[in-house]
């Protein structure tokens, strides 16, 4: 690893924090309305980030090409988000404000995010609710007809808007519908069941992508004036995660190979309230919304190895450990804190359930206080889902939960304009690194996706077009042929190996290794071991993977192979990043760096920066560039939720 001297310019506007965005907007150059139709933008991804961006760009007059791997834009992974979306409207009159939301987010991210980005996120949060309500998103309401709120981990105010347990679905349908309106108007061309397999860069600028039609197998070139990646997170590197099965890192990783910087890959969020794993055939883990922690109480037995049924364990033998250790936040402690606390009690042998890997989330008291009917009205669909999966009735027996990989704070590096270091390549939503630092507070990912797509990118992309000379880009560029050749070559290689093992078996093996060595807690020894093991897995993969069928066809094993290959390379980068960051912060817990009480111990002297990795081609040893984080408006403090 070489640390380069290069300085990364995040292009943060001058001036006081609360005026940066407004001033920047005023200073940005505009593209005149009749010129907008001369520009074409590729948007990869139709989740909250990509969907809202595509709809808005088209509405402004740009031509949009929209890509996703699902059969319809409406099925992007954002649809699965349950809990809610944050916005500091202060409707509850409980003292919320942009400042407070900003502070919670900076602190929640363990002081590893950019002040200016976070401030803008919280500032624009209020507009998002207006926008979604106007679209007809049916948020929960009070009897008086006003919007309802609830609270989420890491906050002491109620600032989360929700639509039962299906907030992501309703928000996504809102922007999908806005997109379909533009499809009807002829401004968006849809490419569903199409996978982006490479990025095309010419003279340092992103000018297009290479895709594979997942039905016909056709490899195609698409040229545009800018490329927007809204391709989501890479949590599936662990194989088991709460992410949809198709979530992958390919788009981001191919861009990294073409020169885009990958930032903070080791920051992955482990969510505390998932249904525990049960068997070796399992394909994914299911999240139980964090909102359950508003009413559910988390506990385990005080004595290790206590095998009694939960209703046989009297209160004095129970350890409500979150309430005990973190009295002011209790069951609503932030995710990283709650996850590690669960791991500790399980490691002590106090875990519950048949596998001993799990803790209780108990609604007994809430049902006693509010009645089963009220609990059903609030969480009914979540309880049903739990019952369907576990065959246990959570109204009678406490739920069992355990942490699982959920969200990735790392991603491609972007500046304040959401542009990567490659001009013309923009990255939004979970695919970028920018807003959440080392830990994301609940209900802020949906917010970020929509803020990026509806309110930030549409302005900043115009500024880019107005400042840079328009490209005479066409798919005839030699770089397109090279990129196409790279893609075809890779496909041919996969098909020619004809080994013995399925792509999925490699993915599972890789996932277990990364979970063990670079999961909820890490140490130098384990990380070094993983960095030594991953190249072995890679080598075996490229010698022994079995991909059946042909390239000119719908081919599931080919898709899996491509994604697994990129996960293998990403896993190595993650471990290198985790090893280099010799401190603990947020979701990144290095065992060597903890307080006497087992809490994360940051090292602001040495690590108050963003790590940006620059690929050295296929050489697995990348270079590191630092973006120092400057805090002018908050004081770096040890996080405490006690």
């Amino acid at each position: 690893m070489k640390v380069l001297e290069e300085r990364l310019d995040a292009r943060i506007p001058d001036g006081p924090l609360d005026q940066k965005w407004t001033r920047h907007q005023g200073e940005m150059k505009l593209v005149s309305p009749n010129n907008k139709r001369k520009y074409t933008v590729i948007v990869v991804g139709t989740g909250l980030a990509g969907g809202s961006a595509a709809a808005t760009l088209a509405e402004l007059g740009y031509n949009v090409l929209s890509f996703c791997y699902q059969d319809s834009a409406r099925r992007a992974h954002s649809i699965a988000a349950q809990g809610g979306i944050n916005a500091c409207k202060n409707y509850q009159n409980d003292g919320d404000s942009v400042r407070r939301f900003f502070h919670d987010t900076i602190k929640g991210g363990d002081f590893r995010s950019r002040e200016a980005n976070v401030y803008r996120l919280t500032e624009l949060s209020t507009d998002i609710i207006d926008q979604c309500v106007a679209q007809g998103v049916p948020f929960a309401r009070e009897y008086g007809g006003t919007l309802a709120n609830r609270s989420f981990g890491g906050a002491q105010v109620s600032r989360t808007f929700y639509a039962r347990g299906q907030t992501g679905q309703q928000l996504l349908l809102g922007c999908y519908q806005a997109m379909m309106r533009q499809v009807n108007a002829g401004k968006i061309t849809l490419f569903p069941r199409t996978e982006m397999l490479d990025l095309v860069v010419a003279n340092g600028r992103a000018i297009g992508i290479i895709t594979r039609d997942m039905v016909t197998g056709k490899v195609e070139k698409h040229c545009a004036d800018a490329v927007v990646l809204a391709t989501g997170g890479y949590g599936n590197v662990f194989y088991l995660s709460t992410n949809a099965k198709g979530c992958n890192v390919t788009a981001g990783f191919r861009a990294y190979r073409q020169g885009a910087y990958f930032s903070n890959p080791c920051y992955t969020q482990i969510h505390p309230t998932c249904i525990p794993p049960h068997g070796e055939h399992q394909s994914k883990l299911t999240l139980m919304s964090e909102s359950l922690r508003n009413d559910g109480r988390v506990w385990v037995s005080k004595t290790p190895g206590d095998k009694r049924a939960p209703d046989q364990i009297p209160d004095e033998d129970r350890d409500y450990y979150l309430e005990r250790i973190y009295p002011s936040f209790g069951n609503l402690a932030p995710r990283d804190i709650a996850s590690r606390a669960a791991k500790r009690v399980v490691d002590e042998g106090r875990g519950v359930g048949p596998t001993g890997v799990g803790v209780y989330l108990d609604f007994r008291d809430a049902i006693g206080r509010l009645g089963a009917q009220n609990i059903a009205a609030k969480y009914g669909n979540l309880f049903d889902m739990y019952q369907r999966i576990t065959d246990e009735d959570p109204y009678k027996v406490p739920m069992r939960i355990y942490p699982a990989s959920h969200y990735t704070m790392g991603g491609l590096w972007v500046d304040y304009n959401l542009m990567s270091n490659l001009p013309g390549l923009f990255v939004i939503g979970e695919a970028n690194f920018s807003d959440h630092g080392a830990n994301r507070l609940g209900a802020s990912a949906l917010l970020q996706g929509l803020v990026d797509g509806y309110f930030v990118l549409p302005y900043t992309i115009g500024d880019y077009f107005a400042r840079f000379k328009k490209l005479d880009a066409s798919a005839d560029h030699p770089e397109f042929d090279q990129a196409e050749a790279r893609v075809k070559d890779r496909i041919r290689t996969f098909l020619s190996i004809n080994g013995r093992r399925t792509p999925d078996s490699f993915h599972r093996q890789l996932g277990q290794l990364v979970w063990d060595k670079c999961g909820m807690s890490r140490n130098a020894e384990g990380l070094k071991e993983a960095i030594a093991r991953i190249p072995e897995i890679r080598q075996e993969f490229w010698e022994d993977v079995k991909v059946v069928g042909s390239g000119e066809d719908l081919n599931i094993s080919l898709e899996q192979a491509g994604r697994t290959a990129d996960f293998i390379d990403l896993a190595e980068l993650m471990c290198r990043d985790a090893l280099a960051r010799e401190e603990s912060c947020g979701g990144h817990f290095r065992e060597e760096h903890q307080t006497d009480e087992g809490e994360a111990l940051r090292d602001d002297e040495r690590f108050c920066h963003v790590s940006c990795w620059k690929s050295n081609g296929t050489d697995p040893d990348p270079d590191l560039i630092l973006e120092p984080l400057v805090f002018e408006n908050v004081q770096l403090a040890t996080r405490s939720y006690k």
Binding site: S72, Q131, P192, K245, M385, I389, F455, K546, G549, L554
Partner: protein
Amino acid sequence: MNLTLHVWRQKGPAAAGRMVTYQARGVSPDQSFLEMLDGLNEELITKGEEPVAFDHDCREGICGSCGMVINGVAHGPEQTTTCQLHMRSFEDGDEIYIEPWRAEPFPVVRDLMVDRSAFDRIISAGGYVSINTGSAPEANATAIRKEDADMAFDAATCIGCGACVAACKNASAMLFTSAKVSQLAKLPQGQVERKRRVLNMVERMDQEGFGNCSNYQECEAVCPKGISTQNISVMNREYLRATLTGA
């Protein structure tokens, strides 16, 4: 447990399809139906055969991707999505017949995968509120009765899976279309385009080749989100109103 699976295999939209029999062994009752199929696919790939193609993504019953007809019933025996169906609903030794959605407007892409893009085209015909980004009024400026919000929400939970179409003898898309029509008709935001919306969406639905509703109620019986056929009555009323009074 051990099961005998009869799976529809079809290379492409134009190719002829047929049922192929496979044995699934050592299936755990805690596995989901799709995990059981994953197991079959792993075996097929290892043997050098092509895996069974089916759509899926979230595996949480919310994205609407998955869907197959299991023993003659859309999504199988449990009125949930296929991904949320668990093998404990079956017994050791069972024979299971697995087929794709069968409806002309949903051509088979391959095996159990069908093309549901007709649904997208119905939405693009008017299933939205025409509001431009950045010009929205303050959210709490219009109060909406909780009952209305809840009713709109009930309709809005449709995941676009297409089971309603697959279950209907006429391949009618009324349940899907009406869910969107009545969601937006319930809300103040949806009023301006109310008439035009229903006319355009119904027209599109017909163009796509979906059949009419003749009240079999099969759609409601299989809908994993419990979308009510009352929405169809709402849509019929909306449609009538729009044709009588002009859009």
